[in-house]
Each structure stands twice: as C-alpha cells, then as structure tokens.
C-alpha cells in the first residue's frame, strides 16, 4: 500500500498542469515518500483495495453474512450497536417482499370492498410507515440517523414475517376457532417481540422525556402489520 501511494504522487507531478512547477526545487531533487492517505488503519485500506478483485461470490456471501448477523441480533435483542453501526437495507427489503408475497392470495378476489391488502399496499405501508416513524423520531430530537432507523424498523419486522409463515401453515390445517386462537397467540407474541426489539435499539437515541412519544408510533406500526397478518384468510 505504501508503494501505491508513492507511485501515484510521482505520476501526478509528471503530468502537464504541473510543468510550471519544475522550476520549484521540490519536484525532482527531494524524492517525495510516504503515505498520503489518512492512516485510519491498515485493514481499512486493505478492504478498499481488495474488494474490487475478489470473486463476486465472496462479496455476496459477505453481505449475506452481515444480513444474517443482524437477523440474529433481532432474535436476541440486547443493546448492541451492530444494527446501528453497519446498517443496510437488504434485510428490510427481503422481509418486506416476503411478507407482501405471503399476504397474497387472500380471500375474495372478486370483492370490490373487501379482500386483503394488495402487494403494493403492504409495500407502501411498510416503507412509508417506516419513513414516517423515522421522521417523527428525528423531529422529536432523536440522534439516530435516517437510514439507521429505517434499518432497525425493517429488521424488526422479522418476528412478524415468521408469524405470517406459521399462520399460513396453520391455515393449511383448517380455519376454525382453534386455528384462530393459535394464530392470535402467535401474532400477539411476535408483535410484542417486534416492538420490544425495536425499542431496545431505538430508545437510547431519544431524550428521556419523549420516549413514549417515539415508542407509540412504533407500537401502532407493528400493530397494523400484525392485524394484516391475523386477518389473512385463504379462499377455500
């Protein structure tokens, strides 16, 4: 890496715009050596240098591992900064698409008033809802950044997506009262888990006298998503 730095400087000095500087004593007499880039850490420089040449499989696997790591953090929400520090929006996108796909095929395709939410409606609710909640928390003086908050809210939909999967499996067995009770319990538990997980990540960034003001919209958001999952019924 040090050699790279030195070659770059010498190349620049020999290009035409600097021809006028050849009168100055600096250019040829004293060889300029050293590292021009800010020494953040040699590992950072290694990464920036090496990710262009690595095989695509490595890049994808590394991103997938990061996403999977964050899923694990949502499953066991302790106050870690992993979700906040390296935010990404791949996980929320995957979860949102999965949830919207699973909510398809709902009842009554022919009804004009009824029917479950369409794919676009689920998408809009999840993303627009996350954006509104993020704006709300920023306007109330939160210190979390916009994309970090989107990342946290998106990842914390994971328990609800798992609940949706469980609900679909339960509905395969029938749609009587017993299955409704089971679905109710599963959806309530995952709704509580989602809200708890996201407040564990978001609550620290708010001033203490406004925590309830920030937590309530998150509660409403996951409640509405939970409601969409609970009322899903297949046409039989």
């Amino acid at each position: 890496p040090v050699k790279q730095g030195r070659n770059r400087t010498k190349r620049r000095k020999r290009s035409k715009p600097f021809a006028g500087l050849s009168d100055v004593s600096i250019s040829e007499d004293i060889p300029v050596e050293g590292d021009i880039s800010v020494p953040v850490g040699s590992s950072r420089q290694d990464d920036e240098f090496s990710t262009l040449d690595e095989p695509v499989k490595d890049t994808i696997l590394r991103d997938l591992k990061a996403v999977g790591n964050k899923f694990v953090h949502v499953l066991y929400p302790k106050r870690s900064s992993a979700l906040l520090r390296d935010w990404d929006l791949w996980g929320p996108l995957l979860l949102c698409v999965a949830l919207a796909l699973m909510l398809q095929g709902g009842a009554a395709d022919g009804a004009e008033d009824g029917g479950g939410p369409q794919f676009a409606e689920v998408f809009v609710i999840v993303w627009f809802g996350s954006i509104v909640i993020t704006l709300n928390s920023k306007l109330l003086g939160g210190t979390i950044s916009f994309f970090q908050s989107l990342c946290v809210l998106g990842y914390c939909i994971m328990p609800l997506t798992v609940a949706m999967l469980v609900c679909r499996l339960v509905l395969l067995g029938g749609s009587g009262t017993a299955s409704f009770v089971v679905r109710l319990v599963v959806v309530s538990a995952s709704f509580g888990w989602s809200t708890f997980a996201s407040t564990a990540f978001l609550a620290d960034s708010q001033p203490p006298n406004r925590k309830a003001l920030v937590v309530y919209p998150v509660f409403l958001f996951y409640f509405v998503i939970g409601w969409m999952i609970l009322t899903f019924s297949t046409s039989q």
């Binding site: 009824g114 939410p117 306007l139 109330l140 003086g141 003001l213």
Partner: protein, 303 residues
C-alpha cells in the same frame, strides 16, 4: 422567571459570565434546566415579553422559547422541528383537556398556549383511521357471524377511504376556518386570533375522544352505539365550540350562528358518517332473518 433570579447567585453568575464572553451585547437569562435546546436558544440572545401570562413553572421554558420560534425559513428541517417541541406529559395533558370541556376554559389558551404541535394531530388522526377500519371490520364480523353465507373479508381498502375522510376533516376544515377568521378579522377587530397551527391542534386533539368511542362501537348493541356517539359528539363539539366562541362572538349574529353551526355540523357529519359507512347495523327485522329462514327451509323441514 428572569426577575425572580438573583443575578449575583454564584451558580448563575458563572453561566451568565460565560455567555457574556461569547457575545458581549447579549441579554442573558439563566434557566436551571440543562437541556441542550434552551441553551442554544439563549445564545441567540433574544428575550421574550411573554413571561407575564405564564403561571406554571413547568411551562416557563416553552414560554421563553415561543418568541424565538419560527426563526427558520419554512423549507428547512428546523422549522418543522419547532412544531414537535412537546414532551410526553404535554401531550397527555392536551388529550385529557380536549375530552373535558369546561365553560370559560379555552382549549387553545389553556393547553396550547403558543406552542402548537403537529405530533398530536397527526398521530391522533392516524390512530383514528386505523381504529375505525379495524373496529368496523371486527364489528362486521360479529354482526354477521351466524350467517352461513357470510364470508369474512378483511376489507383493507376501507383504510384508504377512512384516511381520506379523517385527514381532510382534520386539515382542510381548519384551513377553511382559519381563512374565514382571517377574513372576518379584517372587518371586525377581534381580540382573539388563532394561528393556523393552533386551529389544527384544536381540531386534531378534539378527535381524540373518538378513539375510545370507535372501539366501543365494536359491541353490536344499537343503544350503546348511539349513546356513545352522542356522548362523544357532545364532548368534542363543546370543546370546539368553547374554543372558537371567543373568536367570533364580536361578530354579526348571523355570522356567529353560521360559523358555530358549521363547526358542530361538520363534527356530527364525521361521526355519523363513519358510523354509517364503516359499521353495519344489526337489522333484527325483515331483511336478514327472511333470507336465513328461506335457506333453512330449503335444507331442513322447519316449522
């Protein structure tokens, strides 16, 4: 607050001294709160004359800040941040105040007090939209439960209709009212004038009583439903009426009657319209029982 401080108190002298170092010409105020925002506002060096109308200690900070609000132009983020300058207990007080009308107590003067917020109106409207949609869905399910032909549908599209109705009530009606009051203010000198945000606040918080009312409508008893509608209407209508009465009372009597009846009439329309559209009434008479007896007689011999 400023006059009560002894400027030679040891603690305050340090703060005032450090502020004077930064800006020699500033008048300094010392507040015991050590939030970040009042310190930032203090360094701007302005002092507001609104102190004398405030008697509660915990609202002093908001009073001092109110004269410095809206310094930012409206296309910056900070401008909208001034509308979210509320704390949890403020929102709670405002919601409770909007449910309990008291003759002589003006909601805007008592609770909003030059610190209108957008948090309350927006989230109360959103909650009401989802409460109406979800309660309407549950109530439909409960009403039609026994019928064999009934197929449960989530009726998700009604959320958009509910959202349109409630948001336009909560934002367009205050706009119209504000414009109307502004126009009348040009003709008749009024002591009381409200800014647009304060009217939005009044309307937004007055919708808060409907949230428990809408949840009560799930229970399919007509008497209970109409009783709760009447109670909710009385409470929220009287809060609105008491709030806007001082603003129009000096006007021509016909204008006064027109404005008051418009305010209350729109409120009634919203409540009754929501009830009629989103909640189906159990009809104990002709329609449903005839259909179900016809079906029963086809399947089993029924006498």
């Amino acid at each position: 607050m400023a006059s009560a401080n002894d400027p030679f108190q040891f603690k305050e002298f340090e703060e005032a001294g450090s502020l004077l170092e930064a800006n020699r010409d500033a008048t300094t105020i010392s507040i015991e709160d050590d939030d970040v925002r009042p310190q930032k506002q203090r360094k701007l060096g302005a002092m507001t004359p609104d102190d004398e109308e405030d008697n509660l200690a915990n609202d002093d900070k908001t009073e001092l800040l109110s004269g410095q609000k809206k310094n930012a132009p409206f296309w910056t983020f900070e401008y909208y941040q001034t509308f979210f300058d509320v704390e949890t207990h403020h929102v709670k007080e405002r919601i409770i105040g909007s449910m309990l009308p008291w003759p002589g107590k003006n909601f805007i003067h008592l609770y909003i007090r030059r610190n209108p917020d957008l948090y309350g109106p927006f989230w109360i409207c959103t909650t009401l939209v989802f409460a109406i949609a979800i309660s309407g869905n549950i109530s439909n399910f409960l009403v039609h439960q026994g019928e064999p032909q009934f197929k449960y549908v989530p009726e998700f599209q009604k959320v958009t209709i509910a959202a349109t109705a409630i948001y336009s009530y909560a934002w367009l009606v205050p706009l119209a009212l504000w414009g109307f009051l502004l126009w009348r203010n040009n003709k008749i000198m009024n002591l009381v004038s409200y800014s647009f945000m304060e009217i939005v606040c009044a309307y937004g918080y007055s919708l808060a009583i409907y949230i428990p009312a809408v949840i009560l409508w799930i229970i399919p008893y007509e008497a209970l439903t109409w009783c709760s509608i009447v109670v909710a209407l009385c409470l929220s209508g009287s809060v609105l009426a008491l709030t806007f009465w001082p603003a129009v009372r000096d006007d021509h009597p016909r204008v006064v009657i027109a404005v008051m009846s418009a305010i209350i009439g729109l409120n009634v329309l919203l409540a009754v319209g929501s009830k009629a559209y989103f909640f189906s009434t159990p009809e104990p008479g002709t329609h449903d029982t005839n259909a179900s007896t016809v079906r029963l007689s086809k399947t089993t011999p029924h006498t």
